[in-house]
Protein backbone atom coordinates (compact mmCIF):
# COMPACT_ATOMS: atom_id res chain seq x y z
CA UNK A 1 0.00 0.00 0.00
CA UNK A 2 2.83 2.38 0.82
CA UNK A 3 4.48 1.76 -2.53
CA UNK A 4 1.13 2.17 -4.20
CA UNK A 5 0.53 5.57 -2.65
CA UNK A 6 3.97 6.89 -3.49
CA UNK A 7 3.26 6.47 -7.19
CA UNK A 8 2.57 9.85 -8.79
CA UNK A 9 -0.15 8.45 -11.04
CA UNK A 10 -1.93 6.71 -8.18
CA UNK A 11 -1.75 9.86 -6.04
CA UNK A 12 -3.29 11.88 -8.83
CA UNK A 13 -6.05 9.38 -9.46
CA UNK A 14 -6.90 8.99 -5.78
CA UNK A 15 -6.95 12.73 -5.24
CA UNK A 16 -9.05 13.23 -8.38
CA UNK A 17 -11.51 10.56 -7.28
CA UNK A 18 -11.82 12.20 -3.86
CA UNK A 19 -12.47 15.65 -5.38
CA UNK A 20 -15.01 14.16 -7.77
CA UNK A 21 -16.68 12.51 -4.77
CA UNK A 22 -17.03 15.86 -3.01
CA UNK A 23 -18.81 17.39 -6.00
CA UNK A 24 -21.01 14.49 -7.03
CA UNK A 25 -21.89 13.53 -3.46
CA UNK A 26 -23.13 17.00 -2.54
CA UNK A 27 -25.06 17.65 -5.75
CA UNK A 28 -26.32 14.07 -5.96
CA UNK A 29 -28.14 14.57 -2.65
CA UNK A 30 -30.12 17.46 -4.13
CA UNK A 31 -30.67 15.63 -7.42
CA UNK A 32 -32.12 12.60 -5.60
CA UNK A 33 -34.37 14.69 -3.35
CA UNK A 34 -35.64 16.72 -6.31
CA UNK A 35 -36.36 13.57 -8.33
CA UNK A 36 -33.73 14.42 -10.93
CA UNK A 37 -31.76 11.17 -10.91
CA UNK A 38 -32.71 10.38 -14.47
CA UNK A 39 -32.08 13.91 -15.68
CA UNK A 40 -28.48 13.36 -14.57
CA UNK A 41 -28.34 10.24 -16.73
CA UNK A 42 -29.65 12.11 -19.78
CA UNK A 43 -27.16 14.94 -19.23
CA UNK A 44 -24.23 12.56 -18.95
CA UNK A 45 -25.12 10.55 -22.07
CA UNK A 46 -25.75 13.81 -23.90
CA UNK A 47 -22.20 14.91 -23.08
CA UNK A 48 -20.87 12.47 -25.69
CA UNK A 49 -21.74 14.48 -28.84
CA UNK A 50 -20.20 17.52 -27.14
CA UNK A 51 -17.01 15.56 -26.47
CA UNK A 52 -16.73 14.56 -30.13
CA UNK A 53 -17.50 18.09 -31.34
CA UNK A 54 -15.03 19.60 -28.88
CA UNK A 55 -12.38 17.28 -30.31
CA UNK A 56 -13.28 18.22 -33.89
CA UNK A 57 -13.25 21.95 -33.22
CA UNK A 58 -10.03 21.95 -31.19
CA UNK A 59 -8.50 19.60 -33.74
CA UNK A 60 -7.07 17.35 -31.04
CA UNK A 61 -7.50 15.88 -27.59
CA UNK A 62 -7.68 19.20 -25.76
CA UNK A 63 -9.39 18.61 -22.41
CA UNK A 64 -10.64 22.19 -22.07
CA UNK A 65 -12.40 22.11 -25.45
CA UNK A 66 -13.74 18.62 -24.84
CA UNK A 67 -15.22 19.43 -21.42
CA UNK A 68 -16.69 22.69 -22.69
CA UNK A 69 -18.38 20.79 -25.51
CA UNK A 70 -19.62 18.20 -23.01
CA UNK A 71 -21.04 20.87 -20.71
CA UNK A 72 -22.83 22.62 -23.59
CA UNK A 73 -24.40 19.50 -25.10
CA UNK A 74 -25.30 18.15 -21.64
CA UNK A 75 -26.91 21.45 -20.72
CA UNK A 76 -28.84 21.56 -24.01
CA UNK A 77 -30.14 18.08 -23.27
CA UNK A 78 -31.35 19.17 -19.82
CA UNK A 79 -33.13 22.15 -21.39
CA UNK A 80 -34.64 19.89 -24.07
CA UNK A 81 -36.06 17.55 -21.40
CA UNK A 82 -37.60 20.47 -19.50
CA UNK A 83 -39.03 22.01 -22.68
CA UNK A 84 -40.51 18.71 -23.89
CA UNK A 85 -42.10 18.07 -20.48
CA UNK A 86 -43.53 21.58 -20.29
CA UNK A 87 -44.74 21.92 -23.89
CA UNK A 88 -45.98 18.44 -24.84
CA UNK A 89 -48.08 15.77 -23.24
CA UNK A 90 -45.09 13.46 -22.93
CA UNK A 91 -44.41 12.34 -19.35
CA UNK A 92 -41.00 13.30 -17.87
CA UNK A 93 -39.65 9.73 -18.00
CA UNK A 94 -40.54 9.42 -21.70
CA UNK A 95 -39.00 12.82 -22.43
CA UNK A 96 -35.83 11.71 -20.64
CA UNK A 97 -35.74 8.43 -22.53
CA UNK A 98 -36.11 10.16 -25.90
CA UNK A 99 -33.45 12.80 -25.20
CA UNK A 100 -31.02 10.28 -23.72
CA UNK A 101 -31.40 7.92 -26.67
CA UNK A 102 -31.12 10.56 -29.38
CA UNK A 103 -28.15 12.35 -27.88
CA UNK A 104 -26.22 9.16 -27.09
CA UNK A 105 -26.83 7.82 -30.60
CA UNK A 106 -25.68 11.14 -32.03
CA UNK A 107 -22.62 10.97 -29.80
CA UNK A 108 -21.65 7.47 -30.93
CA UNK A 109 -22.16 8.39 -34.60
CA UNK A 110 -19.96 11.49 -34.22
CA UNK A 111 -17.37 9.52 -32.27
CA UNK A 112 -17.07 6.83 -34.95
CA UNK A 113 -16.90 9.54 -37.62
CA UNK A 114 -14.08 11.34 -35.81
CA UNK A 115 -12.17 8.15 -35.23
CA UNK A 116 -12.58 7.05 -38.84
CA UNK A 117 -11.24 10.39 -40.03
CA UNK A 118 -8.34 11.16 -37.79
CA UNK A 119 -7.24 7.64 -36.91
CA UNK A 120 -4.70 7.25 -34.16
CA UNK A 121 -4.84 10.79 -32.78
CA UNK A 122 -8.41 10.22 -31.58
CA UNK A 123 -7.75 6.79 -30.12
CA UNK A 124 -8.28 8.03 -26.56
CA UNK A 125 -11.64 9.52 -27.33
CA UNK A 126 -13.66 6.38 -26.68
CA UNK A 127 -12.21 6.34 -23.16
CA UNK A 128 -14.82 8.95 -22.35
CA UNK A 129 -17.44 6.19 -22.66
CA UNK A 130 -16.25 4.36 -19.57
CA UNK A 131 -13.64 6.77 -18.28
CA UNK A 132 -9.88 6.44 -18.07
CA UNK A 133 -8.70 7.44 -14.65
CA UNK A 134 -5.01 6.89 -15.39
CA UNK A 135 -5.19 9.67 -17.99
CA UNK A 136 -5.94 12.21 -15.24
CA UNK A 137 -3.24 14.87 -15.13
CA UNK A 138 -2.02 16.92 -12.19
CA UNK A 139 -3.40 19.98 -13.94
CA UNK A 140 -6.84 18.33 -14.12
CA UNK A 141 -6.86 18.26 -10.32
CA UNK A 142 -6.86 22.07 -10.29
CA UNK A 143 -9.92 22.11 -12.53
CA UNK A 144 -11.73 19.59 -10.32
CA UNK A 145 -10.66 21.36 -7.13
CA UNK A 146 -11.99 24.66 -8.48
CA UNK A 147 -15.26 23.02 -9.47
CA UNK A 148 -15.57 21.45 -6.01
CA UNK A 149 -14.89 24.77 -4.28
CA UNK A 150 -17.46 26.58 -6.44
CA UNK A 151 -20.12 23.90 -5.94
CA UNK A 152 -19.68 23.65 -2.17
CA UNK A 153 -19.42 27.43 -1.83
CA UNK A 154 -22.69 28.03 -3.66
CA UNK A 155 -24.49 25.32 -1.68
CA UNK A 156 -23.25 26.80 1.59
CA UNK A 157 -24.27 30.34 0.65
CA UNK A 158 -27.69 29.36 -0.68
CA UNK A 159 -28.32 26.61 1.83
CA UNK A 160 -31.76 27.56 3.11
CA UNK A 161 -32.99 28.53 -0.35
CA UNK A 162 -31.79 25.24 -1.87
CA UNK A 163 -33.37 23.33 1.01
CA UNK A 164 -36.83 24.91 0.72
CA UNK A 165 -36.81 24.82 -3.08
CA UNK A 166 -35.99 21.11 -2.97
CA UNK A 167 -38.71 20.34 -0.42
CA UNK A 168 -41.58 22.62 -1.45
CA UNK A 169 -40.99 24.85 -4.50
CA UNK A 170 -44.54 26.29 -4.58
CA UNK A 171 -44.29 27.44 -0.98
CA UNK A 172 -40.82 28.85 -1.63
CA UNK A 173 -42.29 30.83 -4.52
CA UNK A 174 -45.14 32.08 -2.30
CA UNK A 175 -42.53 33.34 0.18
CA UNK A 176 -40.89 35.26 -2.65
CA UNK A 177 -37.73 33.17 -3.06
CA UNK A 178 -36.28 33.14 -6.62
CA UNK A 179 -37.27 29.52 -7.15
CA UNK A 180 -36.61 29.25 -10.87
CA UNK A 181 -33.11 30.64 -10.47
CA UNK A 182 -32.27 28.33 -7.56
CA UNK A 183 -33.61 25.32 -9.48
CA UNK A 184 -31.67 26.34 -12.56
CA UNK A 185 -28.51 26.74 -10.51
CA UNK A 186 -28.89 23.30 -8.94
CA UNK A 187 -29.47 21.74 -12.36
CA UNK A 188 -26.47 23.52 -13.88
CA UNK A 189 -24.29 22.35 -11.00
CA UNK A 190 -25.44 18.76 -11.50
CA UNK A 191 -24.37 19.11 -15.14
CA UNK A 192 -20.98 20.48 -14.00
CA UNK A 193 -20.54 17.58 -11.58
CA UNK A 194 -21.17 15.16 -14.43
CA UNK A 195 -18.71 16.93 -16.70
CA UNK A 196 -16.13 16.82 -13.91
CA UNK A 197 -16.45 13.03 -13.80
CA UNK A 198 -16.40 12.28 -17.53
CA UNK A 199 -12.64 11.77 -17.72
CA UNK A 200 -12.55 9.46 -14.71
CA UNK A 201 -15.83 7.55 -14.78
CA UNK A 202 -17.21 8.14 -18.28
CA UNK A 203 -20.59 9.14 -19.69
CA UNK A 204 -22.25 5.76 -19.20
CA UNK A 205 -21.56 5.30 -15.50
CA UNK A 206 -21.24 8.86 -14.21
CA UNK A 207 -24.86 9.03 -13.09
CA UNK A 208 -24.22 6.16 -10.67
CA UNK A 209 -21.59 8.19 -8.83
CA UNK A 210 -24.11 11.03 -8.59
CA UNK A 211 -27.06 8.95 -7.40
CA UNK A 212 -25.68 5.96 -5.48
CA UNK A 213 -23.96 7.84 -2.60
CA UNK A 214 -27.03 10.05 -2.16
CA UNK A 215 -29.41 7.09 -2.17
CA UNK A 216 -27.26 5.35 0.46
CA UNK A 217 -27.06 8.52 2.55
CA UNK A 218 -30.86 8.95 2.50
CA UNK A 219 -31.14 5.63 4.35
CA UNK A 220 -29.21 6.94 7.36
CA UNK A 221 -29.76 10.69 7.41
CA UNK A 222 -32.23 12.55 9.60
CA UNK A 223 -31.58 16.02 8.20
CA UNK A 224 -30.64 17.54 4.86
CA UNK A 225 -27.24 18.60 6.21
CA UNK A 226 -26.65 15.06 7.46
CA UNK A 227 -27.64 13.63 4.10
CA UNK A 228 -25.37 15.95 2.11
CA UNK A 229 -22.37 15.31 4.38
CA UNK A 230 -22.92 11.54 4.39
CA UNK A 231 -23.44 11.50 0.64
CA UNK A 232 -20.16 13.34 0.16
CA UNK A 233 -18.39 10.96 2.54
CA UNK A 234 -19.76 7.90 0.75
CA UNK A 235 -18.80 9.33 -2.64
CA UNK A 236 -15.28 10.24 -1.52
CA UNK A 237 -14.85 6.82 0.10
CA UNK A 238 -16.07 5.08 -3.06
CA UNK A 239 -13.70 7.14 -5.18
CA UNK A 240 -10.65 6.53 -3.01
CA UNK A 241 -11.33 2.83 -2.33
CA UNK A 242 -12.23 2.19 -5.96
CA UNK A 243 -9.10 3.97 -7.20
CA UNK A 244 -6.89 2.02 -4.79
CA UNK A 245 -8.45 -1.35 -5.70
CA UNK A 246 -8.03 -0.71 -9.38
CA UNK A 247 -4.43 0.50 -8.88
CA UNK A 248 -3.45 -2.55 -6.87
CA UNK A 249 -4.79 -5.04 -9.40
CA UNK A 250 -3.89 -5.17 -13.07
CA UNK A 251 -6.52 -4.46 -15.69
CA UNK A 252 -9.38 -3.32 -13.49
CA UNK A 253 -10.95 -0.18 -14.95
CA UNK A 254 -11.07 2.52 -12.28
CA UNK A 255 -14.45 4.12 -13.08
CA UNK A 256 -16.48 0.93 -12.98
CA UNK A 257 -14.70 -0.22 -9.80
CA UNK A 258 -15.58 3.11 -8.12
CA UNK A 259 -19.20 2.66 -9.17
CA UNK A 260 -19.22 -0.91 -7.85
CA UNK A 261 -17.90 0.26 -4.47
CA UNK A 262 -20.57 2.98 -4.37
CA UNK A 263 -23.36 0.54 -5.17
CA UNK A 264 -21.98 -1.81 -2.53
CA UNK A 265 -22.46 0.99 0.00
CA UNK A 266 -26.02 1.39 -1.28
CA UNK A 267 -26.72 -2.32 -0.79
CA UNK A 268 -25.36 -2.25 2.78
CA UNK A 269 -27.40 0.87 3.56
CA UNK A 270 -30.60 -0.60 2.12
CA UNK A 271 -30.10 -3.65 4.29
CA UNK A 272 -28.83 -2.28 7.58
CA UNK A 273 -29.85 1.35 8.08
CA UNK A 274 -31.91 1.80 11.26
CA UNK A 275 -35.64 2.34 10.72
CA UNK A 276 -35.45 2.31 6.92
CA UNK A 277 -33.21 -0.72 6.25
CA UNK A 278 -34.80 -3.99 5.14
CA UNK A 279 -33.23 -6.00 7.96
CA UNK A 280 -34.23 -3.47 10.58
CA UNK A 281 -37.78 -3.50 9.27
CA UNK A 282 -37.90 -7.29 9.11
CA UNK A 283 -36.74 -7.51 12.73
CA UNK A 284 -39.27 -4.92 13.82
CA UNK A 285 -42.02 -6.78 11.95
CA UNK A 286 -41.09 -10.11 13.60
CA UNK A 287 -41.10 -8.44 17.00
CA UNK A 288 -44.59 -7.10 16.31
CA UNK A 289 -45.86 -10.54 15.23
CA UNK A 290 -44.34 -12.14 18.31
CA UNK A 291 -45.83 -9.48 20.57
CA UNK A 292 -49.21 -10.09 18.99
CA UNK A 293 -49.10 -13.86 19.51
CA UNK A 294 -47.94 -13.39 23.11
CA UNK A 295 -50.85 -11.06 23.72
CA UNK A 296 -53.24 -13.65 22.32
CA UNK A 297 -51.92 -16.36 24.71
CA UNK A 298 -52.15 -13.86 27.58
CA UNK A 299 -55.74 -13.16 26.58
CA UNK A 300 -56.62 -16.85 26.63
CA UNK A 301 -55.24 -17.33 30.16
CA UNK A 302 -57.10 -14.20 31.23
CA UNK A 303 -60.37 -15.43 29.70
CA UNK A 304 -60.00 -18.82 31.38
CA UNK A 305 -59.44 -17.12 34.75
CA UNK A 306 -62.51 -14.99 34.25
CA UNK A 307 -64.66 -17.93 33.16
CA UNK A 308 -63.66 -19.78 36.34
CA UNK A 309 -64.04 -16.72 38.57
CA UNK A 310 -60.51 -17.30 39.78
CA UNK A 311 -57.92 -14.61 38.97
CA UNK A 312 -55.13 -17.09 39.78
CA UNK A 313 -56.62 -19.84 37.63
CA UNK A 314 -53.83 -22.21 36.52
CA UNK A 315 -54.17 -22.77 32.76
CA UNK A 316 -52.89 -26.14 31.61
CA UNK A 317 -50.24 -26.10 28.90
CA UNK A 318 -52.05 -28.63 26.69
CA UNK A 319 -55.20 -26.54 26.77
CA UNK A 320 -53.27 -23.45 25.63
CA UNK A 321 -51.52 -25.47 22.92
CA UNK A 322 -54.88 -26.69 21.65
CA UNK A 323 -55.74 -23.11 20.93
CA UNK A 324 -52.40 -21.59 19.94
CA UNK A 325 -50.48 -24.69 18.73
CA UNK A 326 -46.75 -24.17 18.17
CA UNK A 327 -46.83 -20.46 19.04
CA UNK A 328 -47.71 -21.33 22.65
CA UNK A 329 -44.33 -22.19 24.13
CA UNK A 330 -42.35 -19.25 22.62
CA UNK A 331 -45.17 -16.95 23.69
CA UNK A 332 -45.13 -18.26 27.28
CA UNK A 333 -41.35 -17.95 27.41
CA UNK A 334 -41.57 -14.33 26.32
CA UNK A 335 -44.49 -13.57 28.64
CA UNK A 336 -42.74 -15.03 31.69
CA UNK A 337 -39.51 -13.19 30.79
CA UNK A 338 -41.54 -9.98 30.82
CA UNK A 339 -43.02 -10.98 34.22
CA UNK A 340 -46.58 -11.27 32.94
CA UNK A 341 -47.13 -15.00 33.68
CA UNK A 342 -45.51 -17.60 35.91
CA UNK A 343 -45.25 -21.34 35.68
CA UNK A 344 -46.71 -23.29 38.63
CA UNK A 345 -47.28 -26.93 39.48
CA UNK A 346 -50.84 -28.00 40.01
CA UNK A 347 -50.81 -31.37 41.83
CA UNK A 348 -51.96 -33.98 41.34
CA UNK A 349 -51.58 -33.13 37.62
CA UNK A 350 -47.99 -33.38 36.41
CA UNK A 351 -48.19 -31.23 33.28
CA UNK A 352 -47.00 -27.58 33.55
CA UNK A 353 -49.60 -24.92 34.38
CA UNK A 354 -49.45 -21.16 33.93
CA UNK A 355 -51.12 -18.33 35.79
CA UNK A 356 -51.20 -14.53 35.39
CA UNK A 357 -49.09 -12.28 37.57
CA UNK A 358 -50.45 -8.98 38.84
CA UNK A 359 -48.71 -7.21 35.97
CA UNK A 360 -50.04 -9.73 33.46
CA UNK A 361 -53.61 -9.18 34.64
CA UNK A 362 -53.18 -5.43 34.26
CA UNK A 363 -51.92 -5.80 30.69
CA UNK A 364 -54.70 -8.26 29.77
CA UNK A 365 -57.29 -5.84 31.15
CA UNK A 366 -55.73 -2.99 29.21
CA UNK A 367 -55.71 -5.13 26.04
CA UNK A 368 -59.41 -5.89 26.52
CA UNK A 369 -60.12 -2.20 26.77
CA UNK A 370 -58.09 -1.70 23.59
CA UNK A 371 -55.62 0.64 25.24
CA UNK A 372 -52.54 -1.47 25.77
CA UNK A 373 -49.30 0.20 24.77
CA UNK A 374 -46.06 -1.46 23.77
CA UNK A 375 -44.43 -1.80 27.15
Amino acid sequence: MGALLSSQIVQTVVLGAALLGLISGALGAFAVLRGQSLLGDAVSHAALPGIALGFLIAGGRDLGAILTGAAISGGLAALAVMAITARTRLKPDAALGVVLGVSFALGVVLLSHVQGRSGASSAGLSSFLFGQAAATLRSDLWIMGTLAAIALGIITLLWKEAKLVSFDPDYARALGLPVTRVQGMLTVMVALAIVAGLQMVGVVLMVALLIAPAAAARQWARSLAGMVILSMSFAVASGVIGALISASARGLATGPVIVLVATGIVALSMAFAPERGLIWRAIAQRARVRRLSSDRVLGTIHALARDHDNPDYPAELGMLQAEHSSATVPALTSLSARGLVREISHPPETTPHWQLTEKGRARADALNRGEATDD
Binding site: K160, L164, F167
Partner: protein, 248 residues
Protein backbone atom coordinates in the same frame (compact mmCIF):
# COMPACT_ATOMS: atom_id res chain seq x y z
CA UNK B 1 -52.23 55.23 -7.82
CA UNK B 2 -52.83 52.15 -9.90
CA UNK B 3 -51.07 50.09 -7.25
CA UNK B 4 -53.42 51.13 -4.53
CA UNK B 5 -56.94 50.62 -5.68
CA UNK B 6 -59.47 48.68 -3.62
CA UNK B 7 -57.39 48.65 -0.40
CA UNK B 8 -60.61 47.99 1.47
CA UNK B 9 -60.59 44.35 0.33
CA UNK B 10 -58.24 41.66 1.64
CA UNK B 11 -58.63 39.88 -1.69
CA UNK B 12 -59.73 41.67 -4.82
CA UNK B 13 -59.85 39.74 -8.11
CA UNK B 14 -60.75 41.56 -11.31
CA UNK B 15 -61.59 40.12 -14.75
CA UNK B 16 -59.35 37.15 -14.04
CA UNK B 17 -58.96 34.44 -16.69
CA UNK B 18 -56.54 31.52 -16.33
CA UNK B 19 -56.08 28.64 -18.76
CA UNK B 20 -54.05 25.45 -18.83
CA UNK B 21 -54.03 24.40 -22.48
CA UNK B 22 -57.37 24.70 -24.29
CA UNK B 23 -60.05 24.87 -21.60
CA UNK B 24 -60.12 27.83 -19.22
CA UNK B 25 -59.64 26.97 -15.53
CA UNK B 26 -61.04 30.35 -14.49
CA UNK B 27 -63.14 32.49 -16.78
CA UNK B 28 -63.45 36.25 -16.25
CA UNK B 29 -64.04 36.19 -12.52
CA UNK B 30 -64.41 39.05 -10.07
CA UNK B 31 -64.10 38.48 -6.33
CA UNK B 32 -64.04 40.75 -3.32
CA UNK B 33 -63.35 39.34 0.12
CA UNK B 34 -63.42 41.87 2.96
CA UNK B 35 -60.77 41.72 5.69
CA UNK B 36 -61.44 39.94 8.97
CA UNK B 37 -63.62 37.13 7.59
CA UNK B 38 -63.19 33.41 7.38
CA UNK B 39 -64.09 32.62 3.79
CA UNK B 40 -64.62 29.30 2.03
CA UNK B 41 -64.09 28.74 -1.67
CA UNK B 42 -66.29 25.83 -2.75
CA UNK B 43 -66.99 24.19 -6.08
CA UNK B 44 -66.87 20.80 -7.80
CA UNK B 45 -63.62 19.07 -8.80
CA UNK B 46 -61.90 20.96 -11.59
CA UNK B 47 -63.83 24.15 -10.89
CA UNK B 48 -60.63 26.15 -10.48
CA UNK B 49 -60.50 26.43 -6.66
CA UNK B 50 -56.79 25.63 -6.31
CA UNK B 51 -56.03 27.62 -9.46
CA UNK B 52 -57.69 30.65 -7.91
CA UNK B 53 -55.53 30.25 -4.82
CA UNK B 54 -52.33 29.76 -6.80
CA UNK B 55 -53.07 32.73 -9.02
CA UNK B 56 -53.78 34.90 -5.98
CA UNK B 57 -50.37 33.87 -4.61
CA UNK B 58 -48.63 34.63 -7.88
CA UNK B 59 -47.75 30.95 -8.52
CA UNK B 60 -49.80 30.84 -11.73
CA UNK B 61 -49.76 33.64 -14.29
CA UNK B 62 -53.21 34.74 -15.49
CA UNK B 63 -54.06 35.22 -19.15
CA UNK B 64 -56.03 38.33 -18.28
CA UNK B 65 -57.09 40.31 -15.23
CA UNK B 66 -55.32 40.91 -11.97
CA UNK B 67 -55.33 40.22 -8.24
CA UNK B 68 -54.84 42.76 -5.45
CA UNK B 69 -54.23 41.89 -1.80
CA UNK B 70 -55.11 44.78 0.50
CA UNK B 71 -54.94 46.92 -2.63
CA UNK B 72 -51.46 45.87 -3.70
CA UNK B 73 -50.01 43.21 -6.05
CA UNK B 74 -48.78 40.02 -4.40
CA UNK B 75 -45.13 40.86 -5.09
CA UNK B 76 -45.41 43.76 -2.63
CA UNK B 77 -47.35 41.75 -0.04
CA UNK B 78 -45.41 38.48 0.40
CA UNK B 79 -44.54 39.18 4.03
CA UNK B 80 -48.19 39.62 4.96
CA UNK B 81 -49.48 36.49 3.22
CA UNK B 82 -49.42 32.99 4.74
CA UNK B 83 -49.91 29.90 2.58
CA UNK B 84 -50.83 26.30 3.45
CA UNK B 85 -50.53 24.16 0.30
CA UNK B 86 -52.20 20.78 -0.11
CA UNK B 87 -50.19 18.41 1.97
CA UNK B 88 -49.97 15.92 -0.93
CA UNK B 89 -47.99 18.54 -2.88
CA UNK B 90 -44.67 17.61 -1.25
CA UNK B 91 -42.67 14.43 -0.70
CA UNK B 92 -42.86 13.78 3.05
CA UNK B 93 -39.89 11.44 2.81
CA UNK B 94 -37.60 14.48 2.80
CA UNK B 95 -34.90 14.21 5.50
CA UNK B 96 -36.08 16.86 7.97
CA UNK B 97 -37.73 17.06 11.35
CA UNK B 98 -40.90 18.91 12.28
CA UNK B 99 -39.14 21.96 13.70
CA UNK B 100 -37.09 22.25 10.50
CA UNK B 101 -40.19 22.43 8.34
CA UNK B 102 -41.97 24.95 10.58
CA UNK B 103 -38.86 27.16 10.59
CA UNK B 104 -39.08 27.28 6.77
CA UNK B 105 -42.00 29.68 7.23
CA UNK B 106 -39.44 32.31 8.24
CA UNK B 107 -37.09 31.86 5.27
CA UNK B 108 -38.81 34.65 3.33
CA UNK B 109 -38.19 37.15 6.14
CA UNK B 110 -34.63 36.06 6.83
CA UNK B 111 -32.99 37.49 3.77
CA UNK B 112 -30.01 36.23 1.82
CA UNK B 113 -27.15 34.49 3.56
CA UNK B 114 -28.89 34.53 6.94
CA UNK B 115 -29.52 31.21 8.64
CA UNK B 116 -32.32 30.51 11.10
CA UNK B 117 -31.03 30.59 14.69
CA UNK B 118 -32.38 30.44 18.23
CA UNK B 119 -35.00 33.25 17.83
CA UNK B 120 -36.40 31.57 14.72
CA UNK B 121 -36.56 28.19 16.44
CA UNK B 122 -38.35 29.77 19.42
CA UNK B 123 -40.98 31.26 17.09
CA UNK B 124 -41.37 27.90 15.39
CA UNK B 125 -41.88 26.18 18.76
CA UNK B 126 -44.62 28.69 19.61
CA UNK B 127 -46.38 27.91 16.33
CA UNK B 128 -46.02 24.18 17.02
CA UNK B 129 -47.60 24.64 20.45
CA UNK B 130 -50.49 26.50 18.83
CA UNK B 131 -51.32 23.43 16.73
CA UNK B 132 -50.69 21.03 19.63
CA UNK B 133 -47.55 19.51 18.07
CA UNK B 134 -44.87 20.78 20.49
CA UNK B 135 -43.98 17.22 21.53
CA UNK B 136 -43.19 16.31 17.92
CA UNK B 137 -40.57 19.01 17.26
CA UNK B 138 -37.76 16.50 16.71
CA UNK B 139 -39.86 13.85 14.97
CA UNK B 140 -38.92 12.99 11.38
CA UNK B 141 -41.59 14.29 9.02
CA UNK B 142 -41.68 10.90 7.27
CA UNK B 143 -43.20 9.43 10.47
CA UNK B 144 -46.18 11.79 10.72
CA UNK B 145 -49.81 10.85 10.13
CA UNK B 146 -51.85 12.84 7.63
CA UNK B 147 -53.45 14.99 10.30
CA UNK B 148 -50.05 15.71 11.86
CA UNK B 149 -48.61 16.67 8.47
CA UNK B 150 -51.46 19.11 8.02
CA UNK B 151 -50.88 20.67 11.43
CA UNK B 152 -47.17 21.06 10.67
CA UNK B 153 -48.03 22.90 7.45
CA UNK B 154 -50.42 25.16 9.34
CA UNK B 155 -47.76 25.87 11.97
CA UNK B 156 -45.36 26.78 9.15
CA UNK B 157 -47.88 29.37 7.91
CA UNK B 158 -48.62 30.61 11.45
CA UNK B 159 -44.97 31.37 12.06
CA UNK B 160 -45.14 33.84 9.17
CA UNK B 161 -47.46 35.97 11.34
CA UNK B 162 -49.39 37.07 8.26
CA UNK B 163 -52.52 39.20 7.85
CA UNK B 164 -54.09 37.04 5.15
CA UNK B 165 -53.94 33.23 5.09
CA UNK B 166 -54.65 31.02 2.10
CA UNK B 167 -55.28 27.33 2.86
CA UNK B 168 -55.74 24.69 0.14
CA UNK B 169 -58.05 21.90 1.38
CA UNK B 170 -56.65 21.80 4.94
CA UNK B 171 -59.39 19.42 6.06
CA UNK B 172 -58.81 16.82 3.33
CA UNK B 173 -58.10 13.39 4.80
CA UNK B 174 -57.66 14.48 8.43
CA UNK B 175 -59.54 12.95 11.34
CA UNK B 176 -62.25 14.70 13.28
CA UNK B 177 -60.16 15.85 16.29
CA UNK B 178 -57.57 17.37 13.94
CA UNK B 179 -60.29 19.14 11.98
CA UNK B 180 -61.64 20.61 15.23
CA UNK B 181 -58.18 21.84 16.23
CA UNK B 182 -57.62 23.41 12.80
CA UNK B 183 -60.99 25.15 12.74
CA UNK B 184 -60.62 26.51 16.28
CA UNK B 185 -57.20 27.85 15.30
CA UNK B 186 -58.44 29.50 12.09
CA UNK B 187 -61.41 31.06 13.87
CA UNK B 188 -58.98 32.36 16.49
CA UNK B 189 -56.98 34.03 13.70
CA UNK B 190 -60.13 35.60 12.32
CA UNK B 191 -61.13 36.83 15.78
CA UNK B 192 -57.76 38.61 15.97
CA UNK B 193 -58.62 40.48 12.78
CA UNK B 194 -56.81 38.24 10.26
CA UNK B 195 -58.41 37.17 7.03
CA UNK B 196 -58.60 33.43 6.35
CA UNK B 197 -59.45 32.05 2.89
CA UNK B 198 -59.92 28.30 2.65
CA UNK B 199 -60.48 26.00 -0.32
CA UNK B 200 -63.07 23.68 1.16
CA UNK B 201 -64.71 20.51 -0.09
CA UNK B 202 -67.13 19.48 2.65
CA UNK B 203 -70.44 21.26 2.08
CA UNK B 204 -71.93 19.90 5.31
CA UNK B 205 -69.66 22.12 7.42
CA UNK B 206 -69.77 25.34 5.38
CA UNK B 207 -72.41 27.07 7.49
CA UNK B 208 -70.86 25.92 10.74
CA UNK B 209 -67.27 26.99 10.01
CA UNK B 210 -67.37 30.00 7.69
CA UNK B 211 -68.91 33.46 7.56
CA UNK B 212 -68.07 34.27 3.92
CA UNK B 213 -68.56 32.09 0.86
CA UNK B 214 -67.30 32.09 -2.73
CA UNK B 215 -69.04 29.56 -4.98
CA UNK B 216 -66.99 28.75 -8.02
CA UNK B 217 -67.40 26.69 -11.15
CA UNK B 218 -64.85 28.15 -13.59
CA UNK B 219 -67.04 31.26 -13.31
CA UNK B 220 -68.28 32.84 -10.11
CA UNK B 221 -71.72 31.50 -9.19
CA UNK B 222 -72.22 33.51 -6.04
CA UNK B 223 -70.26 35.26 -3.31
CA UNK B 224 -71.05 37.03 -0.08
CA UNK B 225 -71.95 36.30 3.53
CA UNK B 226 -72.70 32.58 4.04
CA UNK B 227 -76.15 33.35 5.41
CA UNK B 228 -77.14 35.04 2.15
CA UNK B 229 -75.27 32.96 -0.39
CA UNK B 230 -75.63 29.38 0.81
CA UNK B 231 -78.91 28.57 -0.94
CA UNK B 232 -80.28 25.56 -2.78
CA UNK B 233 -80.43 27.49 -6.04
CA UNK B 234 -76.75 28.58 -5.81
CA UNK B 235 -75.69 25.03 -4.95
CA UNK B 236 -77.59 23.69 -7.95
CA UNK B 237 -75.88 26.21 -10.18
CA UNK B 238 -72.47 25.37 -8.76
CA UNK B 239 -72.66 21.58 -8.62
CA UNK B 240 -75.41 20.74 -11.15
CA UNK B 241 -78.75 19.17 -10.57
CA UNK B 242 -77.69 16.43 -8.20
CA UNK B 243 -76.65 18.75 -5.42
CA UNK B 244 -78.95 19.05 -2.46
CA UNK B 245 -78.76 21.57 0.32
CA UNK B 246 -76.77 20.02 3.11
CA UNK B 247 -76.87 21.63 6.47
CA UNK B 248 -74.43 20.60 9.17
Amino acid sequence: MNDLHEPQFALHVEDLTVTYGAAPALWDIDIDVPPGVMAAIVGPNGSGKSTLLKTSLGLVRPVAGHVRLFGKPISAMRRRIGYVPQRSSVDWDFPADVLDVVTMGLYGQLGWLRRPGAPERAKAMDALSAVGMQDYARRQISQLSGGQQQRVFIARALVQDADLYFLDEPMAGVDRPTEDIIIALLQGLRDRGKTVIVVHHDLSTVEQYFDWLVMLNTRIVAQGPVTEVYTAENLRQTYGHRAALIRG
